[in-house]
């Protein structure tokens, strides 16, 4: 890819949009600060679809082999995206503030291995833990809504049209058109027929 690194005319942060981020001309990036921890080396590391947007608080904490996809009209209001493999956010997805989407724990589960990795962090710029840990892709399918402060853990797929309640911690796959909530998240109920037809419950 030979796109130049770009700056945003409205940006308060003196940073750039990396050249391997493919951002549709109708998409919106509030600030390049979101790319402060972005270090992917892939050609197609980030892609924003038509009308997709990311606002302040969104952080692409993306490692050298990480890849992030934002579908058309996806709205990310301020999520920490911790990605060493692949995180896909589908079309029309609504991601609220302080949400965490992570496909890796970054640090080894074994304490002595974790020590070794932690001892390397002070020598890095930016200071980031980036251990040799298996990453498992996270998929947020189209039309999903994730409430504020929720956390989606490695390997999880949130099925089309589903809703994750505020502050939930999602450890297992969420079926399509289902409401889940809590810590750990559990199924509250499937969407009602009325909701599937477009009407709100109340």
């Amino acid at each position: 890819m030979s796109l130049p690194a770009r700056t945003l005319p409205w940006d308060w942060h003196e940073g750039v949009i990396p050249r391997n981020a493919k951002i549709d001309s109708t998409a919106y990036v509030e600030t390049s600060f979101s790319f402060r921890f972005f270090r992917s080396e892939l050609d197609d590391a980030i892609e924003y679809g038509r009308g997709a947007s990311t606002y302040l608080g969104t952080m692409f904490d993306v490692g050298p082999r990480g890849r992030v996809r934002l579908g058309d009209y996806a709205l990310v209001h301020g999520a920490r995206i911790i990605c060493d493999s692949e995180i896909t956010i589908g079309e029309y997805a609504l991601i609220s503030w302080n949400v965490v989407l992570m496909d890796t724990y970054r640090l080894p589960a074994n304490a002595s291995e974790r020590r070794r990795e932690l001892e390397r962090v002070p020598g890095r710029d930016p200071r980031i833990a980036s251990g040799d840990v298996v990453a498992r892709p996270v998929r947020v399918e189209r039309n999903v809504w994730i409430g504020f402060d929720a956390c989606i853990l490695p390997g999880v797929t949130v099925g089309e049209g589903s809703v994750v309640g505020a502050r939930s911690v999602v450890m297992t796959d969420v079926p399509p058109f289902t409401i889940v909530a809590g810590n750990p998240a559990r199924i509250i109920r499937p969407m009602s027929q009325q909701e599937m037809n477009g009407a709100n419950a109340q």
Partner: protein
């Protein structure tokens, strides 16, 4: 509200539709960053309150009232309709109180909402969302990192532990805990 000298915001002049009672203080530059209410008395804070780092995020038609001697630290108050908070209420660090979900539940309506909220949605009206008033009665203690969601009434003297996500009414004097919050006993 007591007559005489009114309270103040250390970050500047208060919006015209905000009343702050005697000896109350609002601290923090971001207090009114998302304050959009056009109600004549959108925010009324009583006397002797300390609102340190509180975000008053009020929509167009929102009405938020807070009693006397309340002490809030870094709370996020998201109000689209009505939030009523009594006196001697404590709200801890990073706690969110919201009277709305901000998006519709029905999947097709959420597609319409995503489009309306997008950079390409200029001029489109958003589909309606559910709003239900939140009421927090006197002497309630709410710990840090809690969330109080739409339609909830927290009864007088209740004790909401840190990290609780309160989705249902809490009876007066109860102690609740967890996500979703459950009653685990009585406040001391």
């Amino acid at each position: 509200m007591s007559a005489g000298e009114s309270g103040k915001w250390l970050g500047g002049a208060l919006p015209a539709n905000v009343r702050v009672g005697m000896n109350s203080v609002i601290i923090g530059d971001l207090a009114f960053k998302r304050f959009h209410s056009r109600q004549p008395e959108a925010l009324c804070v009583g006397a002797n309150c300390t609102m340190d780092g509180v975000h008053f995020d009020l929509g167009d038609a929102a009405q938020l009232t807070i009693g006397d001697y309340c002490y809030f630290t870094n709370a996020v108050l998201l109000c689209e309709l009505e939030v009523r908070i009594g006196s001697y209420v404590v709200v801890g660090w990073n706690t969110t109180i919201a009277d709305s979900d901000f998006h519709p539940l029905a999947p097709a309506q959420r597609v319409a909402d995503a489009i309306a909220c997008s950079p390409l949605g200029k001029g489109r009206t958003r589909p309606p969302v559910v709003k239900q008033p939140v009421v927090i009665e006197d002497d309630v203690w709410i710990g840090p990192n809690a969330a109080i969601l739409k339609g909830v009434r927290v009864g007088a003297g209740a004790w909401i532990e840190a990290g609780s996500v309160v989705t249902r009414d809490v009876p007066p004097g109860a102690r609740v805990l967890g996500n979703p919050a459950q009653i685990v006993g009585e406040a001391k």
